[in-house]
């Protein structure tokens, strides 16, 4: 990242402008205004040539962002149009030790001695102009040890120099030199001051343009980095990607991310990027010894401090570490940024190293680096959270799979002895009934009943674990038929205590598994019958309605869900609010109720419904019956329903 030119200098280093007005040794003008010019008189006092030069400088400033071109055009124009023999522009060096020649006209470049490239402040006219912050004039009539003429010319010359100012402080000088007997006058001083202002404007304009271009480059880097970071949530690939992107875009020779565990006293380096052209390719060691000074450095970094070490100033880094980097990898400068993700004893560290030169990071660069560090820390935090959630999910999945297998295996294995029990109990009942007395027969009946119950329980357990597994393909079914079949199956139970069943006039057609749908209705209806209690007029109502409901899903889907909602309502004993969630859990049977059943039915129904994208819910109050609602999604090819549709239920009255 190129360093921006430092024109803002610290007050202490700046040459102190002498604010007392200096009296330059002006030669008194030998003619009154309007008289014909004498030979050797310069044309600066005539407005037109000055206007031309000004126009030229302004046009160049508008057309180009290359300061060199603007300066060259300016000095050449001044030499031609204003008849100054020699023109030069100097700028103050960044070290503030001298003035550097930046453009010259009137002297062939080969004839300028290199010593003239840098002028001291004390013995030159431009130096005097900068020192005093005023126009400086000097006549070199004879060689003097304390003054040197511009370009070290031997001939007698007059020199005039105007300071180029930025924010009222001198940053350079515009100097003209003429050979005697040509003379320079006060008007020339004004003219030079005016032109110096034009040059200052050009400097400001090019600096602004440059700063803007650099800012745009930094923003583009941050955007690209952000895009690269968002592409992945996985921790390890993210770190590899980050280290390569940052190293490459910031043109670092080496870049690595370390993981610092303060309590475990380890520093781990697993991700490193090397500039592909770098010949020194020895890899960074995987771990660093956690000595006392490394620990101290780590503690400082943990507070958020940035660490900078260069070959001139390596003290920020523990000396053993710097020696290692400098001797082994020829590192000449290094910067380390902590990436804090909020963990108490752990942080990441991004380190950029330069081998080809002792890189200096400007203020703007540091701002960029901080921005990068913040983005990285955020991305790493997200990746850590995702990683943790993934591991939890994986553990849960394994656990679930184990449980399901267990349930299935156990139920399966228990079937054989149960079948045997059942078989022999039945045989006993059939073949030895005559030889048993009443009590014996009663015992046998109890055995048979319980075996039957055990058998059914195992069947339902198997069913529960099977619901999540092999599924029959969906078919287009008329729900009416399914309901009819279910009612037929339950005919006995319905007849036992005359339950009135109320059905709608018409049923919809859906795409579902017929077996499963039958199970759902069978379970809900038999539950409704079971939990009628002492209701004198038991009624069970069934019905349905279409629904179009918007779902909040990720990613958001534009189309609302098309559903059919069915219900099974009874006017039995109802379910207390506290129990309404528990009933869907397997093996939860409400203790207060005396009713046969294994307690698995509702959990099977819930699993069937939910595994196909539906939902099951209950509305009930004790003594007021219970209503179970479940939804079946309509196939996508069904005609779309208007959104928010909440028509009345289709039910018979």
């Amino acid at each position: 990242m190129p360093a921006v030119v430092a024109f803002a200098q610290s007050p202490a280093a700046r040459p102190q402008p002498n604010l007392a007005p200096a009296t330059p040794a002006w030669p008194t003008p030998a003619m009154t205004p309007g008289a014909t010019p004498e030979p050797g008189r310069l044309t600066c006092r005539q407005p037109l040539p000055l206007l031309e030069v000004t126009q030229l400088i302004t046009r160049q400033t508008a057309l180009t962002t290359d300061l060199a071109q603007i300066f060259v055009a300016a000095v050449d124009a001044m030499q031609q149009h204003l008849a100054y023999e020699r023109v030069a522009i100097h700028l103050v060096d960044t070290t503030n030790q001298h003035l550097t020649l930046c453009a010259a006209a009137g002297v062939p470049l080969e004839q300028i001695p290199p010593t003239d490239y840098h002028l001291p402040f004390e013995t030159s006219t431009p130096g005097q102009a900068v020192r005093t912050n005023q126009v400086a004039y000097f006549e070199h009539l004879a060689a003097r040890p304390d003054r040197t003429a511009l370009f070290n010319l031997a001939a007698p010359t007059s020199e005039l120099s105007a300071p180029i100012r930025q924010d009222h402080h001198p940053v350079g000088a515009l100097t003209v030199s003429v050979t005697r007997p040509a003379r320079l006058e006060k008007a020339d001083g004004d003219c030079l001051t005016f032109l110096a202002e034009q040059l200052a404007a050009a400097i400001r304009s090019t600096d602004l343009y440059r700063a803007q271009a650099e800012r745009a480059a930094r923003e583009s880097l941050l955007t690209d980095l952000s895009r690269a970071l968002n592409s992945s949530l996985e921790l390890q690939p993210l770190l590899t990607q980050v280290v390569a992107t940052v190293g490459e875009r910031l043109k670092a020779d080496r870049c690595h991310i370390s993981q610092v565990h303060l309590n475990r006293r380890t520093v781990l380096v697993e991700h490193e990027y090397l500039n592909p052209l770098l010949a020194e390719r020895r890899a960074h060691p995987k771990t660093l010894p956690f000595t006392a000074d490394v620990e101290q450095m780590a503690q400082r970094l943990h507070t958020g401090q940035v660490l900078v070490a260069t070959e001139q100033q390596p003290s920020a880094l523990p000396s053993s570490l710097w020696t290692h980097y400098n001797r082994r990898y020829s590192v000449r400068s290094l910067i380390s940024l902590p990436l804090l993700t909020g963990r108490a004893n752990f942080f990441y560290l991004l380190t950029l190293m330069q081998v080809t030169h002792a890189r200096v990071w400007s203020q703007d660069d540091l701002g960029l680096l901080h921005g990068i560090a913040d983005q990285l820390a955020l991305a790493l935090r997200n990746a850590e959270l995702f990683d943790a959630s993934q591991r939890t999910a994986a553990a849960l999945k394994t656990k679930n799979a184990e449980l399901e297998t267990f349930v299935y295996t156990v139920s399966h294995d228990l079937q054989t002895p149960v079948v045997s029990l059942n078989g022999f109990a039945t045989l006993l009942q059939k073949q030895y009934a005559a030889r048993l007395d009443e009590r014996g027969l009663a015992y046998l009946a109890r055995i048979a009943a319980n075996t039957e119950f055990l058998n059914r329980l195992l069947q339902e357990l198997l069913e529960l674990s099977r619901v999540g597994r092999l599924e029959a393909p969906d078919e287009t079914i008329a729900v009416g038929q399914i309901v009819e079949q279910t009612i037929n199956d339950l005919a006995n139970q319905l007849a036992e205590r005359p339950v009135r069943l109320v059905q709608p006039a018409a049923w919809p057609t859906v795409r579902y598994s017929p077996v499963r749908l039958r199970q759902v209705f069978a379970n809900l209806l038999s539950n409704a019958i079971k939990f009628m209690g002492t209701q004198p007029e038991p009624v069970i109502k069934v019905g349905w309605r279409p629904l179009a409901r918007a779902l909040f899903s990720v990613p958001p889907t534009a189309a609302p869900a098309q559903l059919v909602e069915f219900f099974v309502k009874d006017n039995g004993i109802g379910i207390a609010p506290d129990d309404q969630e528990r009933i869907f859990l397997p093996f939860e049977r409400l203790k207060k109720v005396e009713a046969p059943g294994s307690g698995i039915g509702l959990s099977i129904v819930k699993r069937i419904i939910e595994s196909r994208g539906g939902a099951l819910r209950v509305e009930s109050a004790p003594g007021a019956g219970a209503a179970f609602y479940f939804t079946i999604p309509l196939p996508p090819e069904a005609a779309p329903l208007p959104p928010g549709l909440m028509p009345p239920y289709q039910e018979a009255t």
Binding site: V4, T100, A103, A104, P114, K251, A279, Q354, H357
Partner: protein, 142 residues
């Protein structure tokens, strides 16, 4: 963990048919790693690359071998880049190589000096982009 070195380095350029006909590029820098990098990059162009860590030696080489292009660093301990350039131009004016400045110093002053006074052909800053350097040199040797 380091990348496998072979996968990272660009393949070396095939042997030039006639080394004498290729333009000579003289690269002067006090840092050996920069010199290595530049020679690796220039291996992709039809040039012969010569490197030197000592400015004095570079002056002699320039006068003797008359390189087509000079790649010069500015910050060198014994003699800085401007002095080296000046010495080369003074010692053998007929050599007149094209000059590309490759330096970590990037400010208005150096650029202005480079463009207007020393009249160099190109000014690149470190850390440099390999593609940029390649394109710059390709343009200069055309």
């Amino acid at each position: 963990m380091s990348q496998p070195a072979d996968a990272q380095r660009p393949e070396p350029a095939p042997a030039p048919p006639d080394a004498a006909a290729q333009p000579l590029v003289l690269c002067v820098d006090d840092d050996p790693w920069t010199l290595k990098m530049v020679s690796m990059i220039l291996a992709h162009l039809p040039v012969t690359c010569l490197t030197s860590r000592k400015p004095q030696e570079a002056v002699e080489l320039a006068c003797r071998l008359k390189p087509y292009l000079l790649i010069l660093d500015l910050v060198m301990p014994q003699m800085n880049g401007w002095e080296t350039l000046e010495k080369i131009r003074a010692a053998c004016p007929d050599a007149a190589p094209r000059v590309l400045i490759l330096t970590a110093k990037d400010n208005n002053l150096e650029r202005l000096m480079a463009a207007n006074i020393a009249r160099v052909d190109m000014f690149l800053t470190k850390p440099f982009d390999a593609t940029e350097l390649l394109q710059a040199v390709a343009r200069l040797i055309k």
